[in-house]
Amino acid sequence: MSGINDFCFKIGTVNGTGSASANGLLMQAIFRMGIPVVGKNVFPSNIQGLPTWYEIRVNKDGYTARTAPFDLMVAMNTGTYARDVAEIKSDGYLLYDSSWPMAKSLLRDDVTVIGIPLGEMCNNTFTGDRERTLMKNIAYAGALAALLAIDMDVVHAMLQEKFGKKKHLLESNYKAIRLGFDYASEHYDCPLPFHLEKMDATRDHILMDGNTAAALGCVYAGATVGAWYPITPATSLMENFRAFCERYRKDASGKRNFCIVQAEDELAAAGMVIGAGWMGARAFTPTAGPGISLMGEFVGLAYYAEVPAVFFDVQRTGPSTGMPTRTQQADLLSTAYLSHGDTKHVMLFPANPEESFTMARDAFDLAERFQTPVFVMMDLDIGMNDWMCRRLEWDDSYRPDRGEVLDSAALQKVERFFRYVSENGDGVAARTLPGVDPKGSYFTRGSGHNKLGDYTEDSDEYREVVDRLVRKLAAAAEAVPAPEIINQGGASAAVITLGACRAAVLEGLDRLREQGVVLDYMRVRGFPFGAPVREFLARHEKHIVIEQNRDGQLRSLLTLETGIAPERLLSFRDYGGLPLGTNQVVEGVLGLLQGVEVSA
């Protein structure tokens, strides 16, 4: 199975010791060798001193899903030796720091042990605790370079780019790399049976995390107001937005064409976005589950008062504070109907950084066109891990869809302006922006109002407005991104999934096909569900819904919104907090298909 450009390895260290840069170096080097690669960072909710892991998968065919167990384990953290060793494939390899006698817990007779005195070498070569600790990481990177045949020219070039100016750092890094590389080369026969060979499969690709991509999407969509309260794993979305704005959004005199407000909490952040949206700005806030829960009241206001607002929910493992540095797709149900009273909200489900970029744009267009809150449902895996994806492209002919907004000219044409009257079938009522024209003035409120925009406590007037909202959301269902569908010859059974599960599910389906199990595939990309989703459901007797939460929330939404008979939706759920693995998919699907008739 494993072999040239097809294997995975894992590095276990202690956080706050600088291993991140060493791991990034490795991943990027492989990428620059033209070989498809992906990295998953499994880190603690803590700043320094706790176990942290980095998983790197190399795959010439471009499969990027997570796959444990591992061909090679780099166990740098004595505290987690035992469990790390347990994750090695039989006949796999273990690399550890042999400066100190080897722990019993490490012995496993089906594993080849590679000891390298990293600590010792670094202590002899470098001075000062800090440098010694940092360089130990670079040193194991060097050892891996030898064991996996990483192109040293590429590595050197990268160090040059990174430390070019800082002579001293450059040297120590060179040294450290060499320490590991040379020791490994001298004491073990390198490379290992599975290793790297240059390819040309990454030319049109980049390595980027979803928060960066989403931030870029906001910049390109023309967002000017960002309000946020820091929270893992959403924080870097706004930090990236700020960085990009500092670069692209200052006028000649250095004045800012954007305004980012670090709010006092998520309630305030939501309110700020709504205030800005009311004024006509494209505004957004990135957050995670706890923030979404706090925004409930404000989201209901935006829904009922019909104010555009964009929310990014970079989902983490719930409930409550849960596991802030683990991934999950468990905010689907509570977000779809967030806030008291009858509500329903538009959600978009990006599968990777690429779609985080495009769907950020879509979110603003939909929010303004339908004058309603839109949630981009990302997760920690998409948001914070570096994915290999195609270079982002922007169509310069794009112009924002601002929906129906009446300017002074348009207002002159109407006899009188009434905020909540809708002529057209999609249930959207034209709005005006504050400060534009006296004739356009109206009163925005979350309390009962009639179609004229006046306060009301009258049943019929109230119903008239909320009934239109139903039509509006129905229209939105047909405007959200269409599902990704792969038909494999009208199989009678199909797999349905969403978001980051895509990578593992697609690979899983290929594997299953090899085993003769042929299944159609649909990945929903937006909510409410439109006609294509219904048609797909109609075409298959049984569906297996694969998602990352405990309660089968996507399955619930499909049941509620499409009226499909529940027994036609089988459910596979993974909710341990780690990115979905291909093996899980294959085993899960096979398990569920027991007894289910699958004709191809």
Partner: protein
Amino acid sequence: MTSITKPKVQHPSSTRNALGLTRRDYEGGMSTLCAGCGHDSVTAALIDAFWQLDIEPHRVAKLSGIGCSSKTTAYFINQAHGFNAVHGRMPAVATGANAANRELYFVGVSGDGDSLSIGLGQMCHAIRRNVSMLYVLENNGVYGLTKGQFSASADIGSKSKKGEANVQPPIDPVLLALTLGASFVARSFSGDKAQLIPILKAGLRHGGFAMVDVISPCVTFNDHEASTKSYLYTRQHYHEVAPVDFVPLRREITATEATEGSVRSVTMHDGSTVHFRMLAEDYDPTDREAAYHYVRAAHQRGEVATGLLYIEEGAADMHGVNGSIEGALTGVPYETLCPGNAKLQELMEEYR
């Protein structure tokens, strides 16, 4: 029932401001508050202030939370956009709106429940950000709309209509604002238009967050003997620190205004001026410490210190801090905002 809208009988006689608009043009829907509610007087004062300042009605953004006080944004300037937010969360909505379009006049109307209980955190942070807006806190010591529970500004010993006495120390928005570094802090009384109007005008022209605490009695639930927010009590214990005259830029100061009593003038960021006639000798409205102690001392004497208590012009507002462009962000064309694909492709090189 649908809201009642008032017939707009134009008094031919009614005088016009520089825009040729009459006071009527600044009015709103008919009030549905209790007859005699202090809030209606504040609404009237706001109408005068906007009218006298010749502010274009549609260039005003009116925001409020939830409460009787918060309802009043519907009762002035029909031609302005209004926003009744959710309870206690108006400051955030105003902050976002101001971030998007700094060119409008922002007025926020709130109550003591809306601002000092559920909204305390948001109000404090709007002050800290120095969001440029006139913030009118219609303070009656009770939750009017929910029928008379004590609010956080009810004074110790103040009795509810049911006769229960409040036992918790009150939160004084004026002291709070001074402590949080507010750049404009005033207090007045709904019954004193002569004092209130110039303060509101100064607040509207102030280049930052203008906190105006207005004692505004609730005639239905908190205007009885034992209440410290009643008309009677306020009138009796009313103590004016510094009567103020607000002089908009384009009117030069007439002798009379300038010479009454001992006058102290402060120039607003837009060049217009505020004159204080000092009653309390050596009261310095630009000395935060002094203001704080003056207010406390008055309170200990059982007095309510009113007037424009503190003002600091030139402090950077939210946009100053952010280094925003002069104009409204909503006015920037998309073409300026989007870096374009060429830039994107350059950027992609950094992710390889």
